[in-house]
């Protein structure tokens, strides 16, 4: 979230799309309800009428996988009707930047496309034309009137001119009336002082165009001036209490903690690595915050290797694992390799891939190719017991499985970081049961044993032997030691201004981190969370900030530097005055004399940097101000985003499996850079009469993730005892299915038995002249529990295809059949 949960109450219009907050983030409805009671409009866009839709002021259905068409239509509506926030768009976004004249877009493809016959990526772009024109000083040429034909704004207009109501409606299946109603309500937040927000989750991410769906919305938020303001932002609802924290700590393969990049084999020196990832800006008004990259990367190395990391050995950079250039190591790739017998050992840690992995049967078969599998979890699950699961012959599986019982979250001390980036310290409740142990203890012990083993034998010992590994107290994992390490220490006496920070003390914030090895930080975005003043995450004050908008700055701690709303310098005009006087986030409170600011002071939230506003009260420009989007190289919100794999403007493509034979927007049927796997376990079936219905997966309030913690819980199983498939009355009639009947749902990859819920809440879509039916299945189940063994995972159906930027699977739109048993 750029904003945070409580901030939802400040919104004037809440769009809930790609998420089902009432069911999957029930507490969020506390704040949504507060907003609604104050007059906010709540919009629910979902293929199915959900518990969220039941509380929404506006509901509009759409066919799964058509979100970019839906949102692209909104961009056109905003531009056609001049509803964009003019001042904001001109000053704070790159709408006025001039794009390279060689950049082009033709019939679904951007300039620079190259097909990849080898797979799994279908193709890639040479992005050398996706650039901006620079002046003689190397600063982007900007036409703030947005009139230049080659400006981002004009190209944007041209790109989305094709997304008219008729075309969008014929793709999404949403009626033109519903589209117009949603567009009108949401675009109204472009007015000054109005804020609109988006709440999305896996309904947006889990597509082959997932990242671009979110980008489309980000562009809308920029056009409407909704970034940085209270009640605005782009808000990802995370599906697990600490998934934000684990992402920050680099759960994913392509990053290191704090969103630093994973080094690749061609970057063989620290200098090469830092140079590659440190962006340059010649604009004195651009903060270009990532220019500090080497301070964070070196501080991370110091944290990993402690005193062993010195300048002469590049602070241990050669000891970091390197990714092969162009190679991906995502979830999909791990199991693809495992399926091809290229991986021999596997730790399944707090995960249940036998049920949570897309195309779960492939995952289950892949695990049969392992020599060993260590299952670290609260209970045995479908992963640990995969060898005795449905269709498995234990006699033919050689995988040795070890179960390490782990303690539950309440049985250990530590922090969680919620969706709103709040790091919250939690104390231990009950002691771990039986012989279960906290994850920290298990990891610590594993590290010790590895170090011991490498002392005598092993290839490339240095990374293991030099790894700093002192996070225990009296032999047990100490969460405070780790939290301090993440914050970071001074490793030498460091003088900043007039103050000397002593060696061994905690770094006050990331502004103090150095690239010369004098500081460490295990995660620069968390620097300032645990300082000499104490554990900031453990704070529990109920006092609000001066703006009284629910920031509660002394309750827990938010990254970065306790900033509760990111890009908040965009909530004020160039003179530092809030666009919204009532729900203001920050405001400039420096002294002024003769129409000029003379001292710098901000009030409210922690501003995005201490700099002056861009202008003086008299409208003259200041040389010491900064553009508000400090994390982008040029300081502007990126309506033209040259960074993604699949294009600088989002474009609608059909899902890998879809019910239509033609993409109404171009000859390019699917995302030309999508990732599709090709073993015999990875079959796909598009426009195939065997699988005529759109399928999607989702969650329910009553179960959690793969259900490991909820299916054995009787009160929850009582509420949702069976895996079900929801379908329209029309489809049920077509297939002769009665409500409550058990049916078979199948895809090109697998099948499972479900209880039919025949409901008015699903309606067939009118797609052009055709009728398209859609069904939906929750993915919380698995054969281990309930003990009947009949309730299986919906991921047996989902495909091995993913987004080119993240390789997240396309579990939200695929093709199935439904039949009576």
């Amino acid at each position: 979230m750029t904003n945070h949960w409580i901030d939802l109450k400040n919104s004037d219009c809440i769009l809930i799309m790609g998420s089902n907050a009432a069911e999957n983030h029930p507490i969020s409805f506390k704040y949504i309800t507060q907003a609604q009671l104050k007059g906010a409009t709540v919009i629910s866009v979902d293929p199915r009428f959900t518990r969220t839709s039941s509380k929404a002021d506006i509901y509009a259905p759409l066919r799964s996988g058509t979100d970019i068409a839906f949102l692209g239509g909104m961009i056109k509506y905003i531009l056609d009707n001049n509803l964009y926030n003019k001042e904001y768009t001109e000053n704070y976004t790159n709408a006025g930047f001039i794009v390279n004249k060689n950049f082009g877009f033709k019939d679904g493809l951007f300039s620079g496309y190259k097909k990849n016959e080898e797979g799994p990526s279908m193709g890639s772009y040479d992005k050398s034309t996706w650039t901006f024109d620079m002046d003689e000083k190397g600063v982007p040429v900007v036409d703030r009137t947005l009139a230049n034909k080659q400006s981002v704004f004009q190209l944007l207009k041209a790109h989305y001119s094709r997304y008219d109501l008729d075309t969008v409606s014929s793709v999404t299946g949403t009626s033109k009336e519903d589209l117009a109603t949603v567009y009108k309500a949401y675009s109204a937040t472009g007015a000054a002082g109005k804020a609109g927000t988006i709440m999305y989750a896996m309904g947006w991410t889990q597509h082959t165009v997932g990242v671009q769906i979110i980008r489309t919305m980000s562009m809308i938020q920029l056009l409407l001036g909704n970034m940085g303001v209270a009640g605005g932002g782009v808000n990802a609802l995370r599906g697990e209490s600490n998934v934000q924290g684990s992402t920050d700590q680099a759960l994913l393969w392509h990053i290191l903690p704090g969103y630093l990049k994973i080094p690749s084999s061609s970057m063989d020196t620290l200098d090469a690595y830092n140079t590659k990832w440190t962006p340059k800006s010649n604009d004195p008004l651009s903060a270009n915050w990532w220019q500090n990259y080497p301070k964070y990367s070196v501080s991370l190395l110091k944290s990993y290797f402690g005193e062993k990391a010195v300048k002469d050995n590049q602070f241990g950079y050669p000891w970091l694992p390197k990714a092969e250039d162009g190679k991906s190591y995502s979830w999909f790739d791990i199991f693809d390799s495992m399926y091809k017998k290229e991986i021999k050992g596997f730790f399944a840690w707090g995960m249940n891939p036998a049920c949570s992995g897309s195309n779960a049967q492939k995952v289950r078969e892949a695990m049969g190719n392992l020599d060993w599998l260590v299952n670290v979890n609260l209970f045995d699950n479908e992963t640990g017991s995969f060898w005795r699961g449905p269709g498995m012959d234990p006699a033919k599986i050689g995988t040795e499985v070890f179960m390490l019982p782990a303690a539950a979250s309440v049985e250990k001390e530590g922090s969680i970081s919620n969706s709103g980036r709040w790091m919250q310290w939690r104390y231990q409740g009950p002691k771990p049961m039986g012989n279960s142990r906290p994850d920290g203890d298990i990891i610590l012990e594993l590290g010790r044993r590895l170090k011991e083993a490498y002392k005598t034998d092993g290839v490339f010992k240095e990374p293991i032997l030099n790894l700093k590994w002192d996070y225990d107290t009296h032999g047990e994992f100490d969460a405070h030691k780790v939290a301090k390490e993440i914050n970071g220490y001074f490793h030498e006496d460091v003088k900043v201004g007039e103050t000397v920070y002593k060696k061994g003390t905690l770094v006050p914030s990331f502004a103090f981190l150095q690239s010369n090895g004098s500081t460490s930080s295990g995660n620069w975005v968390y620097c300032a969370s645990y300082t000499e003043k104490g554990n900031m995450a453990a704070r529990r004050s109920n006092k609000d900030a001066a703006n009284n908008i629910g920031l509660y700055p002394e309750f827990a701690w938010a990254w970065p530097v306790n900033r509760r709303i990111i890009y908040n310098r965009a909530s004020v005009d160039p003179k530092g005055r809030p666009y919204d006087e009532k729900d203001w986030v920050v405001r400039f409170a420096g002294e002024e004399k003769d129409g000029k600011y003379t001292t710098s002071k901000w009030e409210g939230d922690i501003p995005d940097g201490p700099w002056y506003p861009l202008q003086n009260p008299d409208g003259t420009k200041r040389e010491d101000g900064r553009h508000p989007f400090i994390m982008t190289t040029h300081g502007h919100g990126q309506i033209f985003g040259p960074g993604l794999a699949d294009g600088p403007f989002p474009e609608h493509y059909e899902p890998i499996e879809c019910p239509v034979e033609k993409n109404m927007f171009s000859a390019q049927m699917v995302n030309p850079t999508a990732v599709v796997y090709g073993t015999k376990a990875d079959s796909h079936a598009t426009c195939d009469p065997r699988f005529p219905f759109v399928g999607t997966t989702y969650r329910v309030s009553e179960h959690w993730q793969t259900g490991l913690m909820t299916r054995p819980q009787e009160w929850l199983l009582e509420l949702q005892p069976n895996v079900f498939v929801e379908m329209s009355e029309e489809l049920a009639k077509l297939k002769g299915i009665a409500n409550g009947e058990r049916v078979k749902v199948s895809s090109a990859r697998g099948a499972l038995e479900c209880t039919a819920i025949v409901t008015k809440r699903f309606k067939p879509f009118k797609i052009g002249y055709a009728t398209v039916h859609q069904v939906g299945i929750p993915w919380h189940y698995g054969w281990r529990w309930p003990e009947t063994g009949t309730e299986e995972s919906a991921n047996l159906l989902t495909p091995s295809a993913g987004d080119p930027n993240t390789r997240i699977p396309e579990t939200k739109a695929f093709m199935v059949n439904v039949a009576k048993l």
Partner: protein, 237 residues
């Protein structure tokens, strides 16, 4: 002072936290259920389910509505079940809170008669005839806590407090809600201590959302007993 619960169904999201927290506080066993083609489960209140969120899909004025009704005992101001039982060892009203409470002695009552007397069709019997229903978490209330269902509710659909305060809140919310739902109403607010606000005709929510004319109330003999008042109590007529 009499306590009341105000249930604003217009902001209930059917997360069913109330249903689970009720089971948790009362340590009630789960029922063996199966999905019968609806998210609602169990299908009805029972001896071990005091609170049930009823879920119905209705087309009202050409719009689909998914209506949620967290059903439970209304703790009637003048409870027909209490009058019908006429045995304060079995069914009594806590003068401190107004809660209508059932004891194990209900086993001695004519269960079907008690159930039949309830205008909202709430009490349920065990195999041995013992009756059970929501007790307004009277033990929690006496210890300064709110009922478990109210504490759990994330949106503010469930509220608890002194009767006058809850009535005032209900009336104020009704006035606001009417702008959006002109047919919104409070259900029997003068007769119950669990006051519901609904957006549409109550018949859409549950067969017994409002006091049913077809059932409940009191029989002639019960009316007679009531008339005789304390004398009847002494005589155990």
């Amino acid at each position: 002072m009499t306590k009341s619960i105000f249930v604003d169904t217009t902001i209930c999201t059917a997360c069913r936290g109330c249903q689970v927290s009720c089971k948790q506080w009362h340590d009630l066993p789960a029922e063996k259920t199966k999905n019968v083609g609806s998210h609602q489960n169990p299908q009805d209140l029972s001896f071990m389910t005091y609170k049930l969120v009823r879920m119905r899909e209705e087309i009202i004025d050409n719009h689909l509505q998914w209506l949620f009704f967290p059903d439970q005992c209304r703790h009637c101001v003048d409870a027909p079940c209490l009058a019908t039982a006429f045995n304060e060892d079995a069914i009594y009203q806590d003068p401190a809170t107004g809660a209508i409470l059932y004891t194990q002695v209900t086993k001695k009552l004519a269960a079907d008669e008690i159930i039949g007397s309830c205008p909202y069709n709430i009490p349920r019997k065990a195999e041995d005839g013992t009756l059970a229903k929501c007790d307004m978490c009277n033990d929690r209330v006496h210890n300064g806590l709110k009922p478990a269902c109210v504490t759990t509710c994330p949106t503010g659909a469930m509220n608890f407090g002194d009767r006058e305060e809850m009535l005032a809140m209900a009336k104020s919310r009704l006035a606001t809600v009417k702008a959006k739902f002109p047919k919104a109403m409070l259900l029997n607010p003068d007769e119950v201590n669990v006051i519901y606000l609904v957006a549409f005709d109550p018949k859409y929510y549950s067969d017994y959302a409002v006091a049913s004319s077809g059932r409940g109330g009191i029989s002639r003999s019960v009316a007679l007993r009531k008339m005789m008042g304390p004398l009847a109590k002494m005589m155990r007529v």
